[in-house]
Assembly symmetry: C2
């Protein structure tokens, strides 16, 4: 009996909590302004993200294009009042974008095969809607399509999107399938489209696009809960000669359609109140794969069952961390946790087949293949979060990245892995910190020797993005490569991760090489200005230099002020350069308190004002660790104050409640860590720097069966400072906690206070002193 | 000892013959004018047809386009004096066309990435050449590329094309790979192209086209015998936004290329006299499949070995029929046999994987999958020939057609099966006679019940090409569907084949239904004119009616004169309608002797004058059986005379030696049968109508181990009439021979004479009296 107790207790706890945690999630959070999240239905890390698209802004190269198309990175803008339809793939929070596969919308009345416009919705198939008749919860979304009197509900399994349309009138439904609709949909993006009406309840097909992913194909199998009575399509492109006279009217009831701009329609006779359920399975492999996914995951048109399962999946996943606190905090916390469990996404059929970077079909042996690695964003906090609460998936993600590398014609790890493509977005080789961090934390399930070899290969691929020049000069010269200062800083940190990995693996040669390379940041520190600064190949500094400016200054998504603090593996050096702790703290204070003028705010890429505090840019990622740097200078109270300021000011459980792109969960992962009271300033160090919790209590259910609890005694709006910390009842003087301390289970108690604690932290208890 | 004798004797015979038969083949036959054959290298039924393309005429809809693009159906015109390069797929003898995948040409000097023009070859990569420095034999082709001083030699395995380039100068070779070059290459045909430079001796990739096959992809793996030193590409299309700033110079030495109009180049340092061998494996499945094909079929760059093997394969296959006769006859015979063994083509990887009509990857279990079924042409004589000398392949071809049907969203047998596509070309459902003929002849290896079901499904697919109307009215009404008279006649014959199949399978119901349908030809016989004539749905005849005209008269590729003789399963009815044997013979005489005016000759589709004798059009297929109809009226000498006339006048072992499109071997199969002295007027009847041999002796090596010999005693230019026939020494009074008589082995001796034999043939010995 005794042995069973923990399991029973866990089970009881789960029951107590699990009925509720998903209810704190507001999927609309981030759908207004720049969050770039989607409100639709998905399951944790699911391959299908079934969500409404409120406009189809075609990308163009005309002036002002960017802002408009940019707003629709996830297909949905909260301020819109029409919906074009529901498509099955969406990135969560990305800046640049793609996807939006297989847009479906049920319509009544005259057949309309174009989306129409915002200003004149009646000109196309789109429908007006109102937030009053719209709702969303994890795994479920519903909206009344006012123009058609149809209630649309969405839910999903991992690979199957399920739609349920309830017709309020007795009227034919024309279900529109716009194969050409998509996100970032510039002219010529659609490469090929193919549809087969297999029988009166089953349609299969695929589409190929040349977008952010240049050579991309997605397949589907779509099943109707009742037989269609009639169907057809239009091909919007100029008709191209095929070489035989017409034997069929291919436009109606002809079961094979192919071309570059196809909009199909499927007609159903509906009684008032009757429901049409449409299951759409995706596959990266083939229509046969999609059909198998359909038959395996959603064999029957049982919307309610799928919805229930989706809800349970979310509750289960979100219950990995149990928190207590104010309603707002819980909403923020679980919405953030929800966002962190959206990406990377499963990219594999139920039988383990997936499309590789080489466009061949591969079999995943012993792992789940993932795609959507927005690594420049997510290596910072999202993947470190997974090392705590998604260790099994972390192993699979690393296996996926190693498989990507094997399939890569360049022989390197992913930069931005995107549906069997490399889209090369952003700088650095940040698969490395992700793998290094997991390896150093003892997460297995992959071949460490292969991983180290892959890291070395990636860091020495001279043809890529200035790496050759970086190796030659010790920095990326500004005259030879773009964003040179950012690259130098990021490469240096990534190299430090390789050194740490090589060290643990006992590879002395590589350890030395990469520890040397990890110092490269020193080569672009300009003592005369006190900033990191782009440097030319002749050793001189780039002349034009405005440390407040983002564009054209050798940095990307950040200015010199922010980026100069980006040496995660050696803040001590930054402090030394600043002249010691006190000047460094003052320097940080300036960052948060200075006033950035309008020009420089405008110039900050990809965010709006709401993501900026002073000159501290939280809406982009490079400074996410900065509030925690105070602690390295022995000023933890400043960290505590700043993180609360950021959490309070920049995170709301509302549509406009994100300070910038969620970036596949990085923005939210920052919140999760900060709310729990610690943050991974330097992944690969096994060290989390302590901050100040915003939850009054948290329990992290670890995959090793243990629980690590956090308690913030006396926490209130005013009591945000930490007076005293104990771990398992013993005083804890350190300003950081190690990964192993957490994995051992236990309880860390923060005693909160309204005033900064005046304590002198011993040198040895400062973070970053031990690696 | 005794038991071994036949095997030894066979082996000795094979040795004696096999060193020579391939030498009688002239692959240039049909490359001038309208033959539409290619002179390049292939092996029997091979997936690779590696051949020079002498021009790249883009298809356009402008006036006069057709004739010009039409001339390049197989890529090569003998009258040209430049070569654009060597591509890996070609149809043999088709009218409409496609393919021309992966055009390679080795060049020296300045890099040129467009083909240039006939008039100004120096403006592009093409080279001048001369027939004096060009040669071809089965499985081998060579030409001197005069502009570059490079000798190009080609050979193949079933799935791998092997090039050998011998450089006469010490000069870099720029090997051009034009991914956009192709046959019938109208603007927009290229859908997508993808190339990976895997390492310095291996390149993989694929291209997708939307041509005659609408949704087509072909993959390749290309291996060089020495490392390249440099490579690059141009993309001819407008550059389309991809969403990231340039991290690479993608134009040079960047190992992944993708787009819609890519021309790549690969540079090699060459010594004078040095050879570069390039192996290009194809796959319909994937680049991984292509690589496996490469490693399996041509693991080493040994051109001479592949060439020798190809030659042996051809000798082996061509030795299935051994003939004696004049040099011209032997050349005609083996060239024809060579042409009949080019199509259908293998469409499957070495591991049995192939792409199906549903675009999914399938595994061929127990058969070889074939594509390129030009059935409207080939059901007449090519497939019947295969029932004699390619029985094993016939089983596989039928399995391939049944698989196609299973994958068909229409659920019907192929019309024109074309690389995982149905191109719907021409009329009828002529997979049926092919399957019926084989089944009735006892060829197994497929499921007869499935076959009959497939036939019935195909013949009742109402939505296709007037079938519904044909079933409703008993004929295809001219006001409801095009080429109505042709369809009625062909459907009626195909239906008779189903009836025969159902009869043998013991399916009484179907037998009755289809025997009735087989009489449908009666419904369009117009007694007032004595011709088959288009009929409207109200029962009246189409008013405009010119029995000499081809266009707009309800027929395709033939006029009423020719088509009215197309009732293969009941010539007796035609004779009766004509008023008996004598008037019927006179009617046939008129056909051969009347003078067709220029207007009507021009109007005859797809051929030139050389394919016409009087009003008998041999250059198209519908009349191929007509010379043999004399025998049905008891006038065998007329048949004997006409077939010799046709063989002598219309077949030459020279570039211009074919009377029209070879049509995937049908034109050549007519010759093979006629030269052997018999012809399958009505496949499905198991009966071959006797004619007059043009070979003095032939031995058909049957797959059952037996041999059937034909001897034409006393044959000479003048002695073309048959005086007497014996089979195995016994007099043979019949004007036909049954398939089983041939399969039993033995010897048929024709005693030849310069004068028509004046014999009265008993009614029972006329062909067509027994089915």
């Amino acid at each position: 009996m005794k042995k069973l107790l923990p399991a029973i207790m866990f089970s009881l706890c789960l029951t107590a909590f699990s009925q509720s945690v998903a209810d704190y999630v507001n999927p609309f959070t981030g759908t207004d302004h720049m969050g770039h999240t989607y409100p639709g239905a998905t399951v944790p890390f699911g391959m299908v993200q079934l969500s409404p698209d409120t406009d189809t802004v075609p990308y163009s190269t005309g002036a002002g294009y960017k802002k408009e198309v940019y707003a629709y990175c996830a297909g949905y803008q909260y301020s819109d009042n029409t919906i074009c339809g529901f498509s099955h793939t969406h990135f969560s929070g990305t800046g640049h974008s793609d996807l939006g596969d297989f847009l479906l919308i049920p319509t009544t009345g005259p057949l309309k095969l174009n989306p129409g416009t915002k200003d004149n919705p009646d000109s196309g198939y789109r429908s007006r809607f109102s937030h009053e008749r719209e709702s969303a919860s994890p795994g479920y979304y519903s909206v009344m399509l006012d123009d058609y009197g149809i209630l649309a509900e969405l839910t999903t399994t991992e690979r199957v999107g399920v739609h349920r349309y309830t017709s309020h009138n007795q009227d034919d439904i024309n279900l529109i399938l716009d194969m050409s609709a998509g996100i970032y949909n510039y002219p010529g993006k659609n490469t090929w489209q193919f549809i087969r009406v297999e029988n009166d309840t089953l349609v299969t097909g695929y589409r190929q696009t040349r977008g952010w992913a240049r050579t991309r194909t997605m397949y589907f199998a779509m099943a109707f809960s009742k037989p269609l009575v009639h169907y057809g399509h239009e091909n919007g492109e100029e008709i191209i000669y095929r070489g035989f006279y017409r034997k069929f009217n291919e436009k109606e009831d002809f079961p094979e359609m192919a071309g570059k701009d196809i909009t199909a329609w499927f007609r159903f006779r509906m009684q008032a109140g009757e429901q049409l359920t449409v299951r759409v399975a995706l596959s990266p492999v083939s229509t046969a794969g999609a059909l198998n996914n359909l038959q395996t995951e959603a064999p029957r048109p049982d919307f309610d069952l799928v919805r229930l399962q989706a809800h349970e999946r979310w509750n289960e996943e979100l219950s990995r961390i149990q928190v207590e606190g104010s309603l707002k905090v819980k909403q923020n916390f679980y919405t953030s946790l929800y966002h962190t469990f959206l990406s990377p996404t499963i990219y594999m059929d139920v039988d383990g087949k997936y499309r590789g970077l080489d466009q061949n079909i591969h079999q995943a042996e012993g792992f789940t293949n993932y795609s959507t690695f927005s690594l420049w964003d997510t290596y910072r906090a999202l993947h470190p979060l997974f090392t705590l609460v998604q260790q099994e998936r972390t192993s699979s993600m690393i296996r996926s990245m190693l498989a990507h590398r094997k399939q890569s014609v360049h022989g390197i790890l992913p930069v931005w892995s995107h549906h069997a493509n490399e889209n090369w977005c952003m700088t650095g080789y940040h698969a490395i910190p992700v793998i290094a961090d997991a390896y150093l934390k003892g997460i297995g399930g992959f071949d460490a020797a292969e991983a180290l070899e892959a890291m070395d290969a990636s860091a020495t691929y001279a043809g890529y993005d200035g790496i050759g020049e970086y190796m030659q000069y010790g920095y990326a010269p500004a005259d030879l490569t773009g964003n040179s200062a950012t690259k130098t800083l990021e490469y240096a940190y990534d190299d430090w991760c390789i050194a740490r990995t090589a060290e643990k693996a006992g590879q002395r040669g590589l350890t030395g090489i990469y520890h040397r390379r990890a110092r490269s940041f020193e080569n672009i520190y300009d003592r005369s200005t006190g900033f990191m600064r782009p440097r030319l190949s002749d050793g001189s500094w780039q002349k034009e230099f405005d440390p407040l400016k983002t564009e054209g200054q050798g940095f990307i998504e950040g200015n010199a002020w922010n980026y100069s603090l980006y040496v995660p593996h050696d803040p001590a050096q930054l402090i030394a350069w600043a002249g010691g702790s006190m000047p460094f703290v003052r320097h940080l204070d300036s960052l948060f308190t200075m006033k950035l003028d309008e020009k420089h705010i405008e110039d900050s890429e990809d965010i709006d004002k709401r993501g900026i505090i002073g000159n501290y840019v939280h809406g982009n990622e490079p400074s996410h660790h900065v509030p925690y740097l105070y602690s390295f200078a022995g000023a933890p109270a400043k960290t505590q104050e700043r993180v609360h300021q950021i959490m309070d000011a920049l995170y709301q459980p509302t549509p406009g409640g994100l300070p910038g792109n969620d970036d596949c969960g990085q923005m939210s992962a920052w919140y999760i860590f900060s709310a729990l009271g610690f943050y991974p300033v330097c992944p690969g160090s096994n060290e989390y720097v302590l901050g100040s919790p915003s939850v009054s209590r948290a329990e992290i259910r670890l995959e090793n069966g243990k629980t690590f609890a956090i308690q913030a005694k006396g926490l209130s709006e005013k009591n945000i400072f930490v007076k005293k910390i104990t771990l398992n009842g013993k005083p804890w003087s350190g300003l950081f906690i190690r990964h192993e301390d957490i994995m051992a289970g236990g309880e860390m108690v923060f005693e909160m206070s309204s005033k900064p604690a005046k304590i002198k932290v011993p040198e040895s208890d400062l973070p970053g002193r031990s690696f």
